[in-house]
Structure formats: structure tokens, C-alpha cells
Symmetry: C2
Subunit: 314 residues, 2 copies
């Protein structure tokens, strides 16, 4: 079993990334509270540079690299948001970035990654295999989207911030893709408030973390697709599973229909220009997958904000 | 000349409406700061109940009414957001609301007003005349969208909050429709920080406040249309002009094209699901209508959040 990260890793991550990322606010949402009939706040990770939480893990990973490692350039794989974060960090430290994205990626994200100057390869087949191949070929340094202690620690700062800003929070709900966000947020929350209930929400159509947890080891899922494109990861990591097994209270799944409806609620009632992946938490409450009490104070993590609004249902 | 409201009116308004409205956050926006090449925060009035600042003035007006006045029901006119606020307040105090909206109003807003249970009349011709006629007919109590001291005082709480939350703010930019938002915000800002530059932004295509200020008295503008439907008011009020003349440093105008582009920026770079009216401030900076310095700390008021996103340009 991988070692779990300690509080000192989160402290170090917070100090390292602070000059480079947003201290995002947690805001009460009247619109979501009314619609979900619960006391809802939103942690606005969609206000980060590049529109998602991914910069926290990417900066924490790259800032820990030696000058030699960085100089070889960065490489990663992503549905889009991590690619944007890696491209942003690479630009910041002045090295090239190469990212592999599925050929089915949202056009909006493809364009945005190119606009940040990254070398982009759209992959038809096995994204993981092609990324590893290209990493070996280029000798570039891997900035993993989730399977790395630096990502868990960087992302744990979100959980810490939620509990510092709003200590009354009793439930934290987090979207689940490859497991980077949930493993970090849960660990950060529990480091300050072990009593808080942390819930991860995964698309039924792309449930690699649930399947891996059930299997007791990381499995891989080929060709998973979801309206929440940012959550359709083909793999998870052992380190993510270890943190999830220790710090996540519940892991639930939501339908594509629930995600689509919830996306509309986040935009129209919540007034946040989020992408479908950000709506997983709202979907789980709307669909009744999660049961909340009248006294619960619920924080929903909203990440990211790179959407094609022409896909919104009327 | 109408008397200007005093600090005590703002204090009283703040206390009266506090239980009923959001203490909206002012948040730093990386996306808007990068796009506008300035240090930008956003005052998130689109997070208010019904999605706009209008609840502040409407609650302050209705809470000051006698039981008898309220019992006669409420009436008003609106492009939509004030109608939503009046419907919301009427429901809250348990009386009927009647609102007149232009027949050209955004369908989304028409549906939302009906969903709140207000009696809605869509008016083809003179909105002001028809509203006055209906008020006399019903004997209902008018909750004016802007031309009332209670509205200026209620809205002034926004300016106060901006300066309390972010005392370094040096410029505040505010959308201008009938003049309710700008007259209030400017007065609230100046009550705490007379040195802060307050700028109002009006659509060129619907510039009743600029024209009235130039004329030295409220004029009326028939048939004004703008993509920023919430800013296309047919009239302004003397009390609004008086506060604007005293407390607003600049009043500028922006083109429809600039508003449309800015709306896309607020949604895609800012990550706020705002309506076009909320984009007036961004439009003025993007179009170069307002000159900012490198040391300016600029707060843009974002209101409202009731949009039809199918109208967003790709």
C-alpha cells in the first residue's frame, strides 16, 4: 500500500502553490439551495487559472521538479482541463508542453490548449499507451493528472480551504474522474475535520474509480464517454485509491440524464458558467442518490468552467 | 432638486434588507483580469435571489410600506429582472403582484416571472402609460424599478459592501439601465470612499440616462432595444439623475457589438453565467471606452443572471 500523504505535505503544497493559484472563494448559493432544498455552498474552483482545480496539482508537481527535469519539457494526458493546466504551468516556467487528448475531446478545450501553445496530439486509440510512448520518445517529464503524491497534496489544499472558510460545513461533495480531485479534497477536509462526510460522485457511464475500488486495485476502462467529459478517465491510480479508501465516506454514481439536468441547474439556477463535470455534485443530490438532512451544510466543489453552452438543453 | 439620500438611509436599508438578500461576495477574477489586462474583481449580484440586484431596492421599498399599502398588492414595470424581484417580494409578504413587461421581453424572463406566480401583462405600446393605468385600476402599490429613494438606498448597500470587502478598490464600474443601480452604487461607494472613481456604462442603443443628463431632466425614450435587454429602460428618474450628477464620475456608452463580445468574455473567461446586461462594464474596458492605469483595482458589478445562452456567439 502506498503511504498516505501527511499534513506536512499539504502545508508544503499550500505554501508552494499559493503565489500561482487562486485562493478560490466558497460562496453560499441561493439558487442551488432552493433547487436542491438544502443549505448549499459552492467552492468555486472554476475561477482558477485555466478554469479548473488542475493547476493546483500541476504547479505542485512541477515546482518540486529539479531544473534538469523541467528542462526536458512536460508531458501529460487529459480530456482537456489537465492539458490546459500543464500548458499554463509550462508557459509559466518557460518549457515546452506536450499533451495527449482523446480525439473525441470537446472542441472548445482543444482550441484552448492550442491557444496556450502546447503541442497537442489527438489520440484515437489507447490514450495511456500513447502518452507513455511519447514520454519515452521525447524524454519529457510526466505531470500526471492524478496518480502522484504531489497531485494529491496540491489538491488537498482545496479541502483545507473549504473547512477554514466555512467550518460549519458538514458534507463535502466532489466530482470524480480519475480520482485526483476526490482523493485530495477528502484528505484535506479530514486533516482538519475528520467528522465531515465526504462524498464522491462519478458518472455511471465512466466509473473507473468505483470499479477499481470494488476490484481492490486500479482497473482500466476503455472508451468510457460522458456528457461530463472531464470525468471520463480511462484509469485511476493506486495512491488515489488509497486516499479514497481512507478518507472518502461514500462513492456514488449518477446517470447521464441526471448530469445533463444538473448542468442546466448549475448554469441557470446557480449562475455559474461551469462545464458538465462540475455538475456531478448537484446531480447526485437532485437524483436523490445522496440523502441530506435539514441541518446539513453542504459544500459542492465546482470544477471546471470550460463548456460548450450550445449543448445546454433548452 | 430632490434631496440626496443620507448615510442614515443606507444604514437603515442595510439593516432592513439583510435578512432577505444575499451579502454577495466580491471575488477576484483571473479570467477577466487577463482578458482586460487589468486588476479586476467582480461583485456577484447575479447570486441574489431571482438573479439580480433588484431584490435590494424592492425589499427596501416594500418593507417600508404600511400593512394597508401592502394589502393592496404590488405593481411595477420591468424588462424582467425587476419583475422577478417584485414577484419574489410579493410572495414573501403574501400579497399579489402585477407586472407589466414589454412584449419583446426575453422569453426566459417571461417564463420565470410566471413561475413565481405574478400576474404578468405583456405590453405592445407605452409601458409606462399602461403600468400607471393598471396601477390606478387595481389600486395597487407601486414598487418602482428605480425612481424612489428606497430603491437608491437599498441599492447603495452594494457600494458599501464593495468598499468594506475590498477597501483597495480604486474604480467601480456599473451597468446603467434606468439609473437605479448606478445611482445607488455610486452613493454607497462615495459614502465610504469619496476618492473612488465610479463609472456608469450604458448601451448606445438605449441611453436614456445619458440623454437625460445632457438634457438636464428625465426624458423618455420609446422603443429602445439592446442585446442587454435589462438596460433598455424607457425612462429614468429625477432622484436617480440627482444622485448620478453628484456621485458618478463618468457616464460612458458602448456599442451592441461590444456588449455581445463582452457577454462572451464574462461567460467564457469570467466563468459567470451572467446575462448580457451584466457585461456592460467588461464591454467598456474591452472597447477602450474607459482608461485604466496599471495600479487601478477595478470592481465590476455583475448583475443579472437570467440569460438565454443559445444567443451566445460561438
Amino acid at each position: 500500500m502506498t503511504n498516505l500523504i501527511g499534513d506536512s505535505s499539504i502545508d508544503a503544497a499550500a505554501a508552494a502553490i499559493a503565489p500561482h493559484v487562486q485562493r478560490t472563494p466558497t460562496v453560499r448559493s441561493v439558487g442551488l439551495s432552493e433547487t436542491l432544498e438544502a443549505n448549499i455552498t459552492a467552492k468555486l474552483e472554476l475561477l482558477q487559472p485555466t478554469g479548473s482545480f488542475k493547476v493546483r496539482g500541476a504547479f505542485n508537481t512541477v515546482l518540486a521538479m529539479s531544473a534538469e527535469e523541467r528542462s526536458r519539457g512536460l508531458i501529460s494526458m487529459s480530456a482537456g482541463n489537465h492539458a490546459l493546466a500543464v500548458a499554463h504551468v509550462a508557459r509559466h516556467v518557460g518549457v515546452p508542453a506536450t499533451v495527449c487528448m482523446p480525439a473525441t475531446a470537446v472542441q472548445f478545450k482543444i482550441d484552448a490548449v492550442r491557444a496556450l501553445g502546447a503541442n497537442l496530439e489527438l489520440v484515437e486509440g489507447d490514450l495511456v499507451a500513447r502518452t507513455n510512448e511519447l514520454r519515452d520518445e521525447l524524454g519529457a517529464s510526466y505531470v500526471h493528472p492524478f496518480d502522484h503524491a504531489a497531485v494529491v497534496a496540491g489538491t488537498a489544499t482545496i479541502g483545507r480551504e473549504i473547512m477554514v472558510d466555512d467550518p460549519d460545513t458538514s458534507v463535502v461533495i466532489v466530482p470524480v474522474g480519475g480520482g485526483g480531485l476526490i482523493s485530495g479534497v477528502a484528505t484535506g477536509v479530514k486533516s482538519l475535520a475528520p467528522h465531515v462526510r465526504v462524498i464522491g460522485v462519478e458518472p455511471e457511464a465512466a466509473d473507473v474509480v468505483s470499479q477499481s475500488r470494488d476490484a481492490g486495485e486500479p482497473i482500466s476502462l476503455s472508451g468510457a464517454r460522458s456528457i461530463a467529459d472531464g470525468l471520463a478517465a480511462p484509469i485511476t491510480g493506486q495512491i488515489n485509491l488509497d486516499h479514497i479508501n481512507t478518507n472518502v465516506d461514500e462513492l456514488v454514481r449518477v446517470s447521464e440524464d441526471a448530469l445533463h439536468t444538473a448542468w442546466g441547474v448549475v448554469v441557470r439556477q446557480g449562475k455559474f458558467a461551469a462545464e458538465p463535470a462540475a455538475a456531478a455534485g448537484v446531480a447526485s443530490v437532485l437524483a436523490g442518490t445522496i440523502t441530506l438532512t435539514a441541518t446539513d451544510k453542504v459544500c459542492i466543489v465546482l470544477s471546471g468552467g470550460n463548456a460548450d453552452f450550445s449543448l445546454l438543453r433548452p
